[in-house]
């Protein structure tokens, strides 16, 4: 909040309908979280501005009072690089003198809010109202942020992702995810099928990674954050085994995918499949997925939702122990790690050096660095996927052990 205490006037912005309006949490620049009123594209932003002269009897001379509605993108690393993509202004008062409290109404009718609010590592997109009391020496300014969500329709075309990857003669797997576009409360259903296993795998996990690309050209900053790690297999698989994946997205702090917002930044999400062998060597395959925000459906009749809730809790109980969502990547050693390549890739797949390797001069030819802690799971024998608990809704898992 901008300073307002000096020069004897207090500015307050009150939005219409604040009691009934939904709110959303956004991270501020200093890391704190703030609850802000939620608006959508095309919604009118209206309210009242109260200006109170502090010391009664004093006069506040001004050169005009205005209110602006601003949508802007801040690039943190580029000081002063603020780009306004929405800017509307309403004049509240002509130059004059204030002797007591005054209240002005304002209305930005059906104002466009083309992008979703976003607060990230190197870039921030925010919408706010700004009241300015213009004075000769220094203006009085008050800002009030709002949060904007953009909604998307469920895509017509949502094909599954299915790919065979590996390292020639050592490891061949086929992974499959049921969709390529997921909404923020969706569940990722997939499977990993082992075609060739000539290495000693100790465990396998799935990670959700957010990659934020801010700015463009040589000054562009790329920031990766591992939002979740979820172990899906413990033990050594052999050929022919199929490991299921079921990952509930609602448990994680996700935003919709953002593509080239105002040509300033992008936010992309990846599923990272990681296999770790007995010598701590990591083999991974990243796959981009698209996340979108779906309009919330109307509430169903109570009876149905009770049943559905019970089933949901059963599911979380099944995965409760394994699921340890980490919201911050633990940036330990950056080791060179290997992409599992499709047969078409000519490049030699590099493999991370493992715990005893010198992390500095790591294997050449490995294009991707994986951030995140080296996950060491206890090498328990035999146990693979979550021990044969029947899917309540799905088919019976035919464990033929």
């Amino acid at each position: 909040f901008f300073g307002l205490v000096s020069q004897g006037a207090e500015i307050d912005i009150v939005l219409d309908g604040q009691e009934s309006r939904k709110t959303a949490e956004l991270k501020l620049e200093d890391g704190r979280k703030e609850r802000l009123p939620l608006y959508y594209d095309g919604e009118t932003v209206s309210g009242k501005v109260n200006i109170l002269v502090k010391k009664s009897g004093t006069k506040l001379e001004h050169q005009g009072i205005k209110i602006e509605f601003v949508g802007q993108i801040d690039l943190y690393f580029d000081r002063g690089n603020r780009h306004e993509f929405v800017s509307m202004v309403r004049e509240l008062a002509r130059p004059g003198i204030l002797t007591q409290g005054v209240c002005y109404g304002f209305e930005f009718v059906n104002v466009e809010k083309p992008y979703e609010s976003y607060s990230g590592a190197n870039v921030r997109l925010r919408y706010y109202l700004r009241v300015t009391v213009v004075k000769r020496l220094s203006d009085l300014v008050k800002e009030q942020d709002i949060c904007v969500h953009t909604l998307a329709q469920y895509p017509d075309l949502n094909s599954s992702i299915k790919m065979e990857v590996g390292i020639e003669d050592c490891l061949h797997i086929e992974f499959e995810y049921n969709k390529s576009k997921y909404h923020l409360k969706d569940v990722i259903v997939g499977k990993i099928f082992f075609l060739l296993v000539r290495i000693k795998i100790r465990h396998m996990e799935v990670q959700i990674i957010r990659r934020e690309l801010a700015g463009s050209g040589p000054a562009a900053l790329n920031e990766s954050e591992t939002l979740a790690k979820f172990e899906i297999m413990d033990g050594a698989p052999v050929r022919g085994e199929s490991i299921p994946i079921r990952l509930f997205l609602s448990g994680y702090d996700l935003t919709p995918s953002m593509r080239d917002v105002n040509k300033k930044f992008s936010v992309k999400y990846y599923l990272n499949l990681v296999l770790v062998d007995e010598e701590e060597r990591r083999y991974f395959k990243q796959q981009e997925i698209t996340l979108f925000r779906r309009a919330e459906k109307r509430r169903r009749p109570i009876a149905n939702s009770y049943i559905e809730q019970a089933i949901f809790h059963h599911r979380t109980a099944q995965f409760g122990q394994q699921q340890q969502p980490t919201t911050r990547a633990q940036q330990q050693q950056s080791q060179a790690t290997p992409p599992l390549t499709t047969p078409e890739d000519a490049a030699a797949a590099a493999i991370s050096p493992g715990r005893h390797g010198d992390a500095n001069n790591s294997a050449a030819d490995s294009p991707e660095l994986e951030s995140g802690s080296t996950h060491v799971s206890p090498a328990l024998p035999a146990a693979r996927s979550a021990p044969g608990i029947k899917d309540v809704l799905g088919e019976d898992d035919d464990d033929n052990y």
């Binding site: 390292i167 003669d169 050592c170 499959e176 049921n178 409360k185 969706d186 569940v187 259903v189 997939g190 499977k191 099928f193 060739l196 296993v197 000539r198 290495i199 000693k200 050594a236 052999v238 050929r239 022919g240 085994e241 199929s242 299921p244 079921r246 509930f248 609602s250 062998d277 007995e278 010598e279 060597r281 459906k297 169903r300 149905n304 939702s305 559905e308 809730q309 949901f312 599911r315 030699a348 797949a349 590099a350 493999i351 050096p353 493992g354 005893h356 390797g357 010198d358 001069n361 790591s362 294997a363 050449a364 030819d365 899917d391 809704l393 799905g394 088919e395 898992d397 035919d398 033929n400």
Partner: protein, 166 residues
């Protein structure tokens, strides 16, 4: 938080092929065991040296012999490490120490580098080293590794290169 708006069919487990009994119960395709054992000291007095048996059992197709046993000394492990550092793209693990101090006369106490404890520690380090290296997919097809593990003698004049899977 609710998945209540999804139908059961849309979040059902994906269909998968049943694993054949043969695949499930056959020996795994990643069988690789290397032991470094039976240290023996040869020669007398100043010209003594210790070597170790390097015994390997595997079913990986990249190795020509599924069972092999050779004798190797520390300097040959050093040679292998040097070759791999130069030719392969991996970060080669470290060998156990060289024990230079122990080789000086009257230093180190005991039998120096022929001390049982020292030999045992070295044996363990060499075993860790060779297992790590032989299991690395990017080192497995190096000729120097195959010669080291499966030829009776190490020919330092060999032609470096890669081995093709048989």
């Amino acid at each position: 938080m609710s998945t209540s708006t999804q139908s059961a069919a849309s979040i059902q487990r994906l269909q998968h092929k049943r694993q054949t009994l043969e695949d499930a119960y056959s020996p795994p395709a990643n069988f690789l065991e290397i032991d470094v054992c039976n240290p023996e000291t040869h020669g007398v007095n100043k010209d003594r040296y210790t070597d170790y048996e390097v015994r390997m059992r595997t079913n990986l197709p990249v190795f020509r012999l599924k069972e092999s046993s050779v004798r190797r000394r520390y300097s040959e492990f050093e040679w292998l490490r040097g070759e791999l550092e130069r030719d392969s793209k991996i970060v080669v693990p470290k060998l156990p120490g060289k024990a230079l101090r122990l080789q000086l006369p009257f230093r180190g106490g005991g039998d120096g580098r022929f001390d049982d404890e020292f030999i045992e520690e070295r044996r363990r380090g060499l075993e860790d080293f060779i297992n790590k290296v032989a299991g690395h997919p990017l080192a497995q097809n190096e000729k120097c590794l195959h010669m080291f593990l499966q030829e009776q003698t190490v020919d330092r004049g060999y032609v470096p290169g890669k081995v093709r899977t048989t």
